[in-house]
């Protein structure tokens, strides 16, 4: 599979993402500069974490107007796979490719720690291969990671199984204490109605290399790859 990792001014997790996709998962990867218009025939686009445009105005609010976002939007609307991690998730929400938005953590502090999450269902490519009782330990690092949408939207995405992951405790229980940032119903990641655009605040690319002592994130990439390979 060929992945395209978009680099915005202020992206800072692009190298990690490229490393994991290329060196750990053995995939072909190209970097796509935000001013590019050529997606180079990629099978999947990844918007990495970071602080695009310094998080000015709102996280992702300016990046959504980057030239390449026209192509990303067109690609997504045609059913192409798009993954946004952390700042990438915020950009996808601002670009209205995903429902809801990310606001300041309720603690109003930047949170950087390992966090347990659990797949909410197995109906999207990104969580299809992850057992529902398998608790994943994935790092989070964000100041604006509190997932918010109005009551109707939350009901809609929950009814449609568009919630990908939820924050949980080490036993896999979805409790208020296990919610690091105040996200509505512990939501850590969502997909669109067509299940081809994925956004999540936790960083699976930071938990994929054995050298780092935690490879839980690899399960997320492998779930995506399993699905993509099966549908070539």
């Amino acid at each position: 599979m060929k992945f395209g990792v978009v680099v915005f001014p202020g992206s800072n997790c692009d190298e990690d993402m490229v490393y994991v996709l290329k060196n750990i998962l053995g995939q072909q990867v190209v970097k796509l500069w935000h001013k590019d218009h050529n997606l180079q025939g990629v099978d999947m686009i990844v918007l990495p974490g970071g602080f695009s445009y310094g998080d000015y105005l709102r996280s992702g609010a300016i990046a959504k107007f980057s030239p390449i976002m026209n192509e990303v939007t067109e690609f997504a609307k045609k059913g192409g796979y798009v993954l946004g991690v952390c700042n990438g998730f915020q950009i996808l929400c601002e670009a209205q490719l995903l429902p809801g938005t990310l606001i300041h953590n309720t603690s109003h502090r930047f949170i950087c720690k390992n966090q347990f999450i659990v797949a909410d269902n197995n109906v999207s490519p990104i969580n299809a291969s992850i057992p529902l009782d398998r608790v994943l330990n994935i790092p989070i690092a964000h100041g604006e990671g509190c997932y918010y949408a109005d009551v109707e939207t939350i009901k809609e995405i929950e009814d449609n199984a568009q919630v990908l992951f939820r924050y949980c405790n080490p036993e896999g229980h979805i409790t208020e204490d296990a919610n690091p940032n105040g996200s509505v119903n512990n939501i850590a990641g969502v997909t669109n109605i067509h299940r081809n655009v994925f956004g999540m605040m936790p960083h699976p690319e930071r938990a994929a290399d054995e050298e780092l002592g935690n490879t839980d994130g690899r399960l997320i990439f492998e779930s995506l790859l399993n699905h993509m390979m099966a549908n070539v």
């Binding site: 105005l57 709102r58 609010a61 300016i62 107007f65 601002e94 809801g100 938005t101 606001i103 300041h104 953590n105 309720t106 603690s107 109003h108 918010y148 949408a149 109005d150 105040g182």
Partner: protein
């Protein structure tokens, strides 16, 4: 004609405003009592060129809708002054 646009952006009432809450809770620490609520938003000032006030109003509204405001979490109002 040049106009100054003052935009006020506020988080929706339904939204928890942790920043405002923290400030509100600390008011007694500086000797100010009786403050029951603080909500914190953004104030944005723009200078723009427009043919008349109506044109300026349309440009300001378009700016708010397209970039300055996220309608999921924020509401806005603005005032226009010829300069």
């Amino acid at each position: 004609m040049k106009f100054r646009v003052d935009v006020n952006i506020m988080p929706h009432k339904a939204l928890l405003d942790p920043q405002g809450k923290a400030v509100c809770h600390n008011m007694p620490n500086v000797g100010i009592t009786g403050v029951s609520e603080v909500r914190i938003g953004k104030h944005i000032q723009m200078i723009l060129e427009a043919t008349d006030e109506e044109d300026a109003r349309q440009k300001a509204d378009e700016s708010c809708r397209k970039i300055l405001v996220n309608p999921i979490t924020e509401s806005y109002e603005f005032s226009i002054y010829p300069i």
